[in-house]
Symmetry: C2
Subunit: 210 residues, 2 copies
């Protein structure tokens, strides 16, 4: 490969981005390890500030650990439901916001903000760029998995301190996101939150010139 890409590839890349969804409805059949490994190769190709590669991955296989994270989500989601306004609470209650009970693969993703790798380059005035690097890697993984037909759902309705304790995470790691991975029950180009009547996508980008 020469690093030149065709119009046909660009169209298919745009289609991939249109078909990428945050998936919360998974089949329970297993994910072949080879497909997950390919996704993680894409993850590792993401840009990172100063080449610091601050990403740290915990694969959660233990049923007890999974149950603790699921309960963490359920408690936080019950709190979130309790804070909804009257006109939105019924809609919120109907939303399925995590596939943690069904997805065969669970990854908890962290940033080691104290890593010496990269020698601090690019992160002096903006240390949060380490966390941002990890987010970029998750997007790479997300696109690569979707290209295999796999779904990914990013769960953020979690108490991070509780999760750090439940998963026995080194104190210098920052929790970025809890990822559910598996075969989606359905494919769509419309976000589930839009189909459920929660929110719509903007027809235009907010772009100003200075």
């Amino acid at each position: 490969m020469t690093g030149q890409f065709s119009p046909a590839f660009r169209e298919e890349l745009a289609a991939l981005m249109r078909w990428r969804r945050d998936v919360r409805r998974f089949r329970t059949d297993p994910v072949p390890e080879g497909l997950l490994a390919r996704g993680l190769q894409a993850f590792a190709l993401a840009p990172s500030v100063g080449l610091s590669e601050p990403w740290r991955i915990l694969r959660i296989d233990s049923p007890a650990r999974r149950a603790a994270c699921l309960q963490n989500y359920r408690d936080c989601n019950a709190q979130a439901l309790a804070t909804q306004t009257d006109d939105r609470a019924a809609t919120y209650a109907r939303l399925k916001l995590s596939g943690m009970a069904e997805a065969p693969v669970h990854l908890a993703i962290f940033s080691d903000d104290s890593t010496p790798k990269g020698h601090g380059l690019g992160a002096a005035t903006m240390p949060e760029t380490r966390a941002y690097s990890v987010v970029g890697a998750i997007i790479h993984l997300w696109l690569a998995l979707r290209a295999e037909g796999l779904g990914l759902g990013w769960v953020s309705i979690l108490d991070r301190d509780r999760l750090m304790r439940d998963l026995d995470v080194p104190a210098n790691w920052r929790f970025i996101g809890y990822l559910c991975i598996g075969w989606p029950e359905e494919d769509d180009t419309v976000p589930e939150l839009e189909r459920a009547g929660w929110e719509t996508r903007s027809p235009t980008l907010h772009l100003e010139t200075r």
Copy 2:
């Protein structure tokens, strides 16, 4: 398109990720507006927490504003050089860490953490997921531009308060990154920081099982 992707597409997607670089060496010839617009369509397809789409883009065209941002970078980079250890300072001084003086397109990217869009869904325990959504959109843009042969360089060596003042940014926006976009002087699969002897990529991912 059905949302099904072929092995050939997946290979080309992996190649795109291998060829995507943080570019700091740009030619000065202009970027066709149609290509930039296609990149921004990819940007807008990124996932966002609660469908909040918190991204805000400032396109910096004014020479005075560009000069202010470039001086911001130069001052911060001089400070960063001054903090290097003796054994690394000479290497740091040789690095080119921004294409702000040459790149034809400059975008400053922000997150509106106070947006009502999405009704707060998913961001109660982790409000930083709004910033993370904006990072994901930048990664979409980065990949889409690279598929057109265009380069993107993300500059983070900036004083954010000074940048907010210089660009007259609403106080409720959070600065995420300053993007230089243009035609790269060269293409490579090896990061420039690796070619310059600053840091190398890890041969393995940090992955533990719990």
